[in-house]
Symmetry: C3
Subunit: 304 residues, 3 copies
């Protein structure tokens, strides 16, 4: 298997299938009374997070611990970053302590790729700027596959702030690789120019866009975007691009709804939608853990 998991871009559809199959098997571990397998005993996994994160860091950490690895958390605030060390020097220093994997989240696109070239340890991209978030996209694939039985031929609508979203980017790549049709929808200011080149359909009308969707993936609207002038007000954003029961009426009856979280209730998604029966938001979290176990398994366990 490969050394690193940097982005969906690098993965073949066959590799994705293998990762999803492994993840399906690992789900069972988290349902046992004793949630522990010895697979990664004696391995050291470092979570190097330059942005705050609960869910992603916790998911990687629990995944590692249930596989018996040793985990080390480093967050930017406590790190040498404060002292002005370059990212590469931090990485080389960590490498000198022989970790087996470094999970990195960083605000700069490409940061994990730069590190991966420099160190022998496996590097896993836990989110790099607006670039990629591959473990999230794999969770989402697994979640859809579980419910729909397949990915191929489905219509996936991704709605909201496409321009600033690594989740959107990784999911566009992932679903297209697996044979789905992808449509993005959002206000023109939040749809990046030239997005059609990624092979997606573009819409600016949420009600229209979701009519024939098999899957609707709502993106988190970052509240600070409003200050950037990307939309006039949260109220207007919510009225036009928030998913509520009214808008859902135009969707297929078997549509399923995803959101990478954390959700802004009442802004991009109404509480009744987030908590409704078609919502797979918590399945994404459960599957995220299994996917991260699968990633560790293939990058680290496969060496044996």
């Amino acid at each position: 298997m490969r050394k690193d998991l940097l982005g969906i871009k690098d993965l073949s559809s066959r590799e994705i299938e293998v990762l999803l199959e492994t993840a399906e098997r690992f789900k069972e571990v988290s349902e046992r009374e004793i949630k522990k397998v010895p697979t990664l005993r004696g391995k050291t996994i470092i979570n190097l997070f330059y942005e705050p994160s609960t869910r992603t860091r916790t998911s990687f950490e629990i995944a590692a611990k249930r596989m018996s690895a040793d985990t080390i958390n480093i967050s930017a605030s406590s790190s040498s970053v404060v002292k002005g060390e370059t990212l590469l020097d931090t990485a080389r220093n960590l490498e000198a302590m022989n970790p087996d994997a470094v999970v990195i989240r960083h605000p700069f696109p490409g940061a994990p790729h730069m590190i991966a070239k420099e160190i022998k340890a496996s590097v896993i991209n836990g989110g790099d700027g607006a670039h990629e978030h591959p473990s999230q996209a794999l969770s989402d694939l697994l979640t859809v596959k579980e419910k729909k039985g397949r990915i191929e031929g489905l219509l996936i609508v991704i709605a909201g702030d496409i321009a600033h979203s690594r989740v959107a980017r990784s999911n566009i790549l992932a679903f297209k690789k697996m044979g789905a049709v992808v449509r993005v929808v959002g206000p023109p200011t939040l749809i990046p120019y030239g997005i059609e080149d990624m092979g997606v359909e573009v819409s600016y009308d949420l009600g229209e866009a979701i009519k024939d969707a098999d899957v609707i993936m709502m993106l988190r609207i970052q509240l600070e975007r409003q200050k950037g002038g990307f939309f006039p007000s949260l109220r207007e954003y919510s009225a036009l691009y928030g998913l509520n029961l009214e808008k859902l009426k135009s969707a297929r009856r078997d549509v399923v709804i995803l959101h990478p979280g954390p959700i802004n209730r009442g802004i991009e998604i109404a509480p009744e939608v987030a908590d409704g029966p078609y919502s797979l938001i918590l399945n994404q979290v459960t599957n995220g853990l299994a996917v991260r176990m699968a990633i560790f398994y293939h990058l680290l366990g496969g060496k044996e």
Copy 2:
């Protein structure tokens, strides 16, 4: 056994006795050369702390590790709270990763109870606002029982900021349940109106109040209360309600002194008192660890 430990209020005196007996047995584990039992192997325990804490978080974490559980720390500053996620959504997301227990400290009274209703994992209240702090009260019971041989019939004086103290509240409930007499003492501004309804005696004179006490429990005065106008100055507070050797002269010779920590030396308690032979402050810490092991044992281990 029950799923959650939310407050002393919910516990029967029999349940308290069982927890204390279990804690007494677990004390021995921390005195071994190899301080480790396999009881919770493969269990995942999350410490979700929305308020800063060293002693409580560390005590739960060491307890969990000595029982071989996997532990995950989440503190408010690094958490999704920053991103505006609701507490309930955070809890549901954690639940989706199948933890066995969530220890929660939160500034809002009732926060752990709200979560407990929503998730399958055991919820342990690590302190919720001015409401309850049950593991602290259990430590204090154990500490008194060890030294006095019993709780029933003792006179317990709790002194200081009764109004804002979850420790006071849980201890009043705990000691009364076990048959002790409880008296609270402090400045009128820091004694809540209607406290007599909890079945306690009230006094405003520390010297008088401690004369026949078997146990004096001093509470930490939070220095920021002065700004709230609850007392005129720290000097005056200390003169009237600080426990020093002079005031102790009026107490029984076999009185014992407790304080939940962290202590303000020279304010609510004089150094000679805190470090004196009647002080059980460090016993409380040792017993706190054992009590937390007992709590985990009954909530998690009892499932087998």
Copy 3:
């Protein structure tokens, strides 16, 4: 063996030799497929850090975990320090939970020594103000010994901010104990008055000082020193006291270069020097991990 490791000052040259020999053996553990030995199973090690640190804390934590100890991290920001507890009370409270070792980093010189007298657990100085940083000096000794085959008789030049550096102080003591000659060099404002009493040569000219050196150890210049008026500008500091290829021309061909990190590229050390073949900066990190395993082994494992 001794209970604590507080400073190089307390160690005999024989003790240092034993620690280095043990560290050499432990290096192998970190090169295994399964990087784990059971030596410290059931031991509790607390990292109590009152100053931010990635590399030292991470190194101690990985060392402890590879020896199967349980580790607890406490950082000043989340700790009771916030609540005004004295350092000694914090230490006594931790002690009451029966840890086996406390690694402490603190801005005040002597803080670890004060704690060591009060608690039964082993105390390891992870850096105390400008006083000592013994595990760093032991790493540096090991690094030089590995490359040069010996310490005795070598000329070690330590360059930069001698006055504020615990690394300088511990290394002066360490290298002199092992029979090396030590020379310090830096601007007069950063060389402490009376440093000759430590038995070192003093120079103010980097180019001159390194001519006959076997080892050059560059110290990190803390950028905030400039505000203190210790040197006129970073540019001038770098021109006079930064190590670059030009200045290195005057050095011996077999010179080796150390730096405790994190490095300021282009300030005290040029990138070509830091990354050059004579640089042992990353060896120091690898050896630091092994040295910390050796320290734990002798302080904790030796009890058996």
